[in-house]
């Protein structure tokens, strides 16, 4: 196992380095790390799927994002405490919740339909 983990570490290390170089060349100057909260019914299931896809989308665009997962019942309070750049909900959003940041539906990240558009919308709104 030691050998394997070393192997993976090396691979990953290389990958990150290469990506960084590309980012410097192509991308402008956005080195900011965005923060987000993603909520689903249990805080485990669909939010994990959506989180992975959002992380991938941000990485491909050379942006950094840190995403916390939670249950829908915790979303409003957690958003008040953590003050994220945006929140995402993969379940129906209960009425009467208020947020200080943009709120997006996570359904495109589950179905894969309209995924690019959804990502663009998120990034447009948080870059403003």
């Amino acid at each position: 196992m030691g050998l394997f983990s070393k192997l993976f570490k090396n691979n990953e290390g290389e990958k990150v380095e290469k990506k960084d170089v590309v980012v410097e060349e192509v991308n402008t100057t956005d080195n900011k790390k965005y923060r987000a909260i993603i909520a689903c019914g249990s805080g485990v299931a669909t939010s994990t799927m959506a989180r992975k896809k959002i992380e991938k989308g941000f990485e491909e665009r050379g942006l950094k994002v840190e995403i916390t997962q939670c249950k829908i019942g915790e979303l409003e309070n957690l958003a008040k405490v953590q003050k994220p750049n945006f929140v995402i909900h993969t379940v129906v959003l209960p009425q009467g919740l208020t947020f200080d940041c943009p709120v997006f539906s996570g359904v495109p990240f589950l179905t894969g339909v309209g995924l690019t558009k959804a990502l663009d919308e998120i990034i447009d709104s948080i870059k403003k």
Partner: protein
């Protein structure tokens, strides 16, 4: 052959990573990614197994002592959906069910028998679960796979019917729930509603759900929906009822809170391993039907934020515990799955169209069925869990879950195939 047998004997922890790796390679994942997927799933299994031992050991002894003291018949532990899914993924049916589910869906789409594309690989465990019940009863792989195929076709058709209702009720276009444990109650939910329509007097009762109290439901939900707090409270209550001293009560409460918190995290690891495969399957299917308007099958848990479902779900938590005690024939004490009751009752609640009275009546009927089915499955599930290598100690009663009891379709198919 010797090597294959040796591998199979090692159980899911070793075999499933290999299977997942092979499926990953088939879907043209990079070898490194396929390897990582398999490894992650193996790690998830080891994690689930650790927590199961802790849960069953702690809760089993306590519920038995409690049952003896109060002369209850609650010998079955509700170990929750994470355990049922892990048990399903640990059976030898996995690879065949993956292939069956995708091929059947592909054929149904090609022949225009459905508009549903179900690539929610994670929830394929529901189909595996159906097959597993048949497999461990009849010991015939062929019968098990026929049973699985039937459940796949029925769930895809139910998802077809549910799609317009979902877009109307939740305002979500292009998605549906190909999610057995919730959607297999759709015909029963609408059936109960029709029955109430026919009873004079009763059919006039209409108590509207108060949408102004959403704030309250939210805060209630964050307590009842918080597994750690539920584990803590129930652990203390069960410990006290079992006649434990105060030190043991605190220990039990703390251990059960830990189990409730840790179990979903372990399953999350399992899931993360499956995500690359799920994406690959989605691309594979999408590439075959370009431009076709399809409903994507999703996890039924999406509905949980709906105010009607949430408030009835929360009211049903104490009612479910009460039902468990008074319902004749029930042996299961609801525990680990209390938090997902709103999801399980989705289709008991939707047909009531905002009428609290009807929602509660059908929820109580459905919950009673869930408890009875879960109890009926318990002996077999315990055997399967042991057989696939999970740490179920001897003499602590049997394991099942509210979620297992929600698989009414699996239950019916299992009972029919048991006749052979």
């Amino acid at each position: 052959m010797g090597i294959i047998k040796a591998l199979l004997d090692m159980g899911a922890v070793v075999v499933l990573p290999i299977i997942i790796f092979l499926i990953g390679v088939f879907f043209r994942l990079r070898v490194k990614d396929a390897f990582k997927s398999g490894l992650t799933i193996g790690i998830g299994f080891v994690g689930v197994n650790l927590v199961i031992g802790m849960l069953v050991g702690n809760l089993g002894t306590a519920t038995q002592k409690m049952s003896e003291r109060f002369n209850l018949n609650l010998t079955t532990m509700d170990v929750g959906w994470p355990v049922e899914s892990a048990i399903s993924f640990a059976t030898p049916l996995v690879i065949w069910v993956f292939i069956l589910a995708l091929v059947i869906n592909l054929i149904m789409l090609t022949m225009n028998w459905t508009n549903v594309m179900n690539v929610d690989l994670w929830n394929f465990w529901h189909f595996i679960f159906t097959g597993a019940l048949v497999y461990y009863t009849t010991h015939s792989m062929v019968l098990a796979l026929i049973a699985t195929a039937i459940s796949i076709v029925i769930i895809i058709k139910l998802a077809d019917w549910a799609a317009p209702i979902i877009s109307k009720y939740f305002g979500m276009e292009g998605v549906t729930f190909a999610h057995m444990e919730s959607i297999n109650w759709l015909p029963i939910g609408y059936g109960i509603n029709k029955l109430i329509d026919m009873i004079p007097g009763i059919n006039k009762i209409d108590i509207r759900m108060n949408s102004g109290e959403n704030k309250n439901t939210n805060s209630l939900m964050s307590i009842f929906g918080d597994p750690a707090i539920m584990g803590l409270i129930l652990g203390a209550i069960i410990g006290a009822l079992a006649g434990y001293g105060w030190k043991e009560v605190l220990m039990l409460a703390m251990n059960l809170a830990a189990v409730m918190f840790l179990m979903p995290r372990m399953v999350k690891i399992l899931m993360e391993g499956l995500i690359p495969l799920s994406e690959a399957a989605q691309e594979f299917m999408n590439a075959r039907f370009p431009g076709r308007k399809v409903y994507i099958g999703l996890d039924g848990a999406i509905a949980i934020g709906d105010p009607g479902i949430m408030s009835v779900g929360v009211i049903m938590v104490p009612i479910s515990l009460l039902l468990a005690v008074i319902l004749p024939g029930n042996t299961m004490l609801p525990f680990a799955d209390l938090g997902i009751i709103p999801i399980l009752l989705t289709w008991a609640i939707i047909p009531s169209k905002g009428n609290l009275f009807r929602a509660l009546v059908s929820s109580i009927i459905v919950m009673s069925l869930i408890l009875l089915i879960g109890s009926a499955m318990a002996p077999l599930l315990t055997t399967i869990a042991k057989e696939v290598g999970f740490a179920i100690p001897e003499g602590v009663g049997s394991v099942s879950s509210l979620d297992a009891g929600s698989h009414v379709l699996s239950y019916v198919i299992w009972k029919i195939f048991s006749l052979f």
